[in-house]
Amino acid sequence: MIGTCLRASAVAALIVATSWSSARPSLAGDADDSWREIANNAFNGRPLADGSGLITLEMPARAEDAAVVPATMRTNLPVGDTRTLRSLTLVIDENPSPVAATFNVGPGVTMISTRVRVNSHTKVHAVAELSDDRLYVVDTYVKASGGCSAPMANSAEENATKIGQMQFRQFTKTAEPANAPREAQIMVRHPNNSGLQRDQVTLYYIPLFIVRQLRVWQGDQLVLEMDGGISISENPNIRFSYAPNGASTFRTEAIDTDGHVFKGEWPVEPAT
């Protein structure tokens, strides 16, 4: 089952496993060939500059649970750098569909954290587009296995009745001005079936069934838009920073591959 899931050679994994320090542009080797091919396709051949010192990608070196691996991307621009973030793309090189998600962001977003499936030992890239129209890349290495084809979490039946349920959390920081950056989290109940999990009774693969788009607005202003792939974990969960714009509500909308549309509206909580 995992065999069907692997897309690059085992040699590639071995090469990168021997020594790799994070946040470094590509070296020569098979893994980098596969990355170049992915990057070419995903970014239409646009050049990727070294993003060290501008963006960061945090993931555990060894996943505790390959089906739920936290990944956090941040901009880390030098003081006085006026560039802003437009989008972040998370690429899990050795996953069957490497582009995990692309996040287009509104004003003030500098951090996005989500949870992904990781199918094998793999390099993971974060690619940021900044307001200078250029792409910047950093990477890290994660040891995990079987995340994409791993069976759904337990109590799956119970959760199936709750598909589309949303929660929205706003995190408060004390003693900060009302316009200081804040963090919020959107959670959507959804099995996010990768299409690679197999029903062993029928021997058919469980069909692809994922949240393909998730959007968050502050008032009428788009804060975050995720185009998601099969690598996003069950019950998609995104935590992000944003700049408060004075609106009184957040709106959220999720659309899945079966065309279901789930919506939520949430009053803005004071920053106390």
């Binding site: 996943a63 505790e64 739920v68 936290p70 949870r115 296995s145 079987g146 062993q200 019950n235 935590r239």
Partner: protein, 339 residues
Amino acid sequence: MGRKICCDANWASGADETRQMSSLGSRPLRSAAVIPLFIGLLLGTTATPTYSQEVIEPLSVEQIASGIYVHSGEIALMSAANEGAIANVGFVIGDKGVAVIDTGGSVREGRRLLAAIHQITDKPILYVINTHGHPDHVFGNAVFQPPTVFVGSHNLPREMAERGPYYLNSFRSAMGALLDEVKIVPPSVTVDDQMQLDLGHRKLTLTAWRASHSDSDLTVFDESSGVLFAGDLVFLRHIPVLDGSLRGWLKTIDELAKLPAKSVVPGHGPASAPWPAAIDSERDYLERLQSDCLDLIKRGIPLAAASQLAAASEKSHWELFDEYNARNATAAYSELEWE
């Protein structure tokens, strides 16, 4: 050495720890006799003639009550070196026949369990009862053949169907060729709520539980001796492993504690321990995990950081803590953050 081959099923993997048989209770049975088994008869077409030459050393088992025998597994991760024999497995003998409770982590362990049974009784094996679907409890199932009847929770067939092939794949690097003979054998008789099995002047009460340690937990209670086979609803020494529902497990523990049992056979730990005192350490751990996760969620600490913090204070109380605690915390946090 693939110590942690599969993060989604890490009651695999090969830790090297070995442990002497605990000598609680009566003397361990360990005969020098070897029992060559004609595996071709047992395994049908998968067998090759070389197996008939194989020397099977019976599993060491302790008699923990009259007619009840238990092999206490190593506190370790499954590996080729330990033949997957990390869980407690046992059998109960009645007038009419035998019920086997869990079959171990490999066909080889299952075969050694069968040899241990044959050393003690020639009564027929009426039932194989699986306490849940994890590999260290069911990978020996293929050793037992009709007319033996397999019994498990009503959730077990689905869980085995969904996860069995995944387990076979992901345990390959830790177990190697020992997996070649393993087959996923689901129960033909399932327990919705409760069921009694009569072994002849010996009634076993089987109870299926809500999602707790796993989705398919089942206990076996022998009224005549007061022995409760708890499967992995009870861990001792080995850190509890959460693969079902933390809330459910805590609720189940409260109900289990009220059972009129005298002693428990935990899924991992000594062959038996006094009941209900044996539940205390596990309850402490799970309650700590729950309260820490709730607090971390409330404070807005993200999952990645929380998984390293939750229940960290429990470390000194458990073996295999580093192998499982962060994973438990990840599961608990993911469950509780929806409340």
